[in-house]
C-alpha cells in the first residue's frame, strides 16, 4: 500500500459525477425495493441472478456434503449392521401403525361421505435436502436443493418427520428459499388437537419457541396440548403437527393469555425436509411432478365428483400468512 500512496496524491478526475451516480442508483434501489416488497414483479430478475448464484451455493455446500458422504462410506461394518437392524425394527413398527392408519382413513372417508362432507385431500410429498448455505441474517430462512424444475412453487408447505417446518418463499430454478415457522414474520393458522380451538401461532425469532398471542384468558388450552395445522390459511394442508404447548400464563388484567409452544420439528437441525403438494385426489395425469401417490384409485372413488377440481384452486394459493 505504501507504493500506491505516494503515486496517488491527487484528486480523482471522476469525483463530480460520483454524487450523481450515487443518487441515481439510490433512487433505483429504492424503486426496486418498493416493487419487490409489494408484488412479485421482479421474480424474473431474482431468478436470473439466482441462476448465477446457484453454482456458488453448490460449491459452498460441497465440503459439508463431501464430509457427510465420507462419514457414510467409511462407517464401520459393525455400525452399519447395527443401524440396519435398528431401521428394520423401525420399519416394522411403522408399517404396523400404517396398517391401522389405512383402515382408519378408509373409515374416515366413508363417514365423511355419509355426512356429505368434503373428503380430505391426500398430499403428495417429495424429499428435498437442505443446502449448507446460510442466507438472510435477519430472518429464519433455509435453502433447499429443489426448485421450480421439481415443481416447487411459492407458498408451498414443507414439513419434516416430526412436524411443520415452514414454507417456500422464493422458488428458484434449482434451489429454493424457505421461511421457517419460527421467523418473527411468520404466522401459522393452527388448532388445538384436543379441543379443536383455532388460533394463530407466531414465530418469535427463537428456534424453540412459538407464540400464541390471540388466546383469551378463558381459552381451553393446557400445557402439553398438541397444535396441528388447521388448513385455514390455504397454504398449509390441515392436520400436520406444529408444536406442543409448553406454558400457559393467564394474567387476569390482560385481555389475552400468554401462551408459548415448542415446535415439533427440529427447526435448527433439520437435514432433509419434505415438500407437500396438496393434491392427489384429482387424476394423476395433471399432477405437477408425477410423484406416485399411495392409492389414487380409492381416493378418487371416495371423492364426490363435484369437489374433485376444488383443491387445485383454493389449496394451492400462494398467499403467505
Amino acid at each position: 500500500m505504501a507504493a500506491a500512496k505516494s503515486k496517488k496524491q491527487h484528486r480523482s478526475p471522476y469525483s463530480p459525477a460520483l454524487g450523481l451516480r450515487l443518487l441515481l442508483l439510490a433512487g433505483l434501489s429504492i424503486l426496486i425495493q418498493y416493487i419487490d416488497n409489494r408484488d412479485n414483479h421482479l421474480d424474473a430478475v431474482r431468478k436470473t441472478i439466482g441462476a448465477t448464484v446457484y453454482p456458488l451455493r453448490v460449491i459452498v455446500d460441497a465440503p459439508v456434503s463431501t464430509w457427510r458422504w465420507l462419514g457414510e462410506t467409511t462407517a464401520s461394518r459393525n455400525e452399519l449392521q447395527l443401524e440396519n437392524s435398528r431401521l428394520k425394527t423401525e420399519r416394522l413398527l411403522t408399517q404396523a401403525r400404517l396398517q391401522r392408519y389405512a383402515a382408519l382413513e378408509a373409515e374416515n372417508a366413508r363417514l365423511r361421505d355419509m355426512l356429505e362432507a368434503r373428503t380430505r385431500v391426500r398430499e403428495q410429498v417429495r424429499v428435498a435436502e437442505i443446502l449448507s448455505v446460510s442466507a438472510d441474517p435477519f430472518r429464519h430462512v433455509l435453502v433447499i436443493d429443489k426448485g421450480t424444475n421439481a415443481g416447487v412453487y411459492d407458498g408451498q408447505a414443507i414439513v419434516d418427520a416430526n412436524g411443520v417446518v415452514g414454507q417456500v418463499i422464493e422458488a428458484g430454478v434449482a434451489s429454493s428459499m424457505c421461511l421457517l415457522i419460527s421467523d418473527p414474520g411468520h404466522d401459522l393458522p393452527v388448532e388445538v388437537n384436543r379441543s379443536g380451538l383455532r388460533t394463530i401461532a407466531r414465530g418469535t425469532g427463537n428456534f424453540n419457541q412459538l407464540d400464541l398471542p390471540f388466546l383469551p384468558n378463558n381459552a381451553d388450552i393446557e400445557p402439553g396440548d398438541l397444535l396441528v395445522t388447521s388448513g385455514l390459511g390455504g397454504a398449509f394442508p390441515a392436520g400436520y403437527p406444529v408444536a406442543i404447548v409448553d406454558s400457559v400464563r393467564r394474567i387476569p388484567q390482560e385481555p389475552f393469555a400468554s401462551v408459548t409452544a415448542v415446535p415439533s420439528a427440529a427447526l435448527n437441525q433439520v437435514r432433509e425436509i419434505m415438500l407437500i403438494w396438496p393434491d392427489a385426489s384429482a387424476d394423476s395425469a395433471t399432477d405437477p411432478v408425477g410423484v406416485d401417490t399411495e392409492a389414487p384409485d380409492d381416493a378418487a372413488a371416495a371423492t364426490p365428483g363435484d369437489t374433485v377440481a376444488e383443491p387445485g384452486d383454493d389449496e394451492r394459493g400462494d398467499d403467505r400468512e
Binding site: 500500500m1 507504493a3 500506491a4 500512496k5 503515486k7 496517488k8 496524491q9 491527487h10 484528486r11 480523482s12 478526475p13 471522476y14 469525483s15 460520483l18 454524487g19 451516480r21 450515487l22 442508483l25 439510490a26 433505483l28 434501489s29 429504492i30 424503486l31 426496486i32 425495493q33 419487490d36 416488497n37 421482479l42 430478475v45 431474482r46 441472478i49 439466482g50 448465477t52 448464484v53 456458488l56 451455493r57 460449491i59 459452498v60 455446500d61 459439508v64 449448507s132 448455505v133 446460510s134 442466507a135 438472510d136 441474517p137 435477519f138 430472518r139 430462512v141 418463499i169 422464493e170 428459499m177 418473527p184 414474520g185 425469532g205 428456534f207 435448527n268
Partner: protein, 170 residues
Amino acid sequence: MMNEATIVSDARAGRQTPIIISIVLALMLAMAPLPAWAETFRPDWVMLTIIFWSMTFPGNYSVGVAWIVGLIVDVAQGTLLGQHALAFAVIAYVTVKFHLQLRQFPMLQLTATVFAMLALYQFILFWINGVAGINAPVVVYWGPVLSGTMIWPLVSLVLDGVRQRVGRRR
C-alpha cells in the same frame, strides 16, 4: 489529466481477474455455513472487500460495481431486492470520496473508520428492514460490525497481497 486517469485506475481490463475472484470468494464466505452461535458474528466479507477495492482502485470499483455486487448479495441471501445494493453503493460512495485520506491513515485509524462505515452500513439495512416491517434482534446488526472491524486488518493484509500482484503485472 490523461496520465492521472491511468494512474488512478491502474487495474486495467484483463488484469482484474484476481480482484473479481476475491469478490466471488467473499460472496462464498458470506454463504458458508456456520454454527448457530457464530452466525450473528459473521463479518460482512463482501462489504469489507468492496471497501478495500473502492479505496484502492476508485476508478474501477466505485458505486456502480458496489451496487451490482449488492444486488447479487440480495439475491444470494434472499433479502429485499435492492437493500444491500443501496447500502453497498452508499458505503462505496463514502469510500471513494475519501479514498485519498483513507490511504494515508495508519492501520488503527483506518480500522476505526471501517468501524464507522460498517455501522453506517448496518444502519441502512436496519432502516430498510424497519420500513419493510422486518424486525430482527439488535445483536444481528451489531455482531457483523464488531467482527468486521476486528477482521479488517487481516482482510486488508490479504487483499493488499492481491493488489500488489495486480500492480506488479502492470
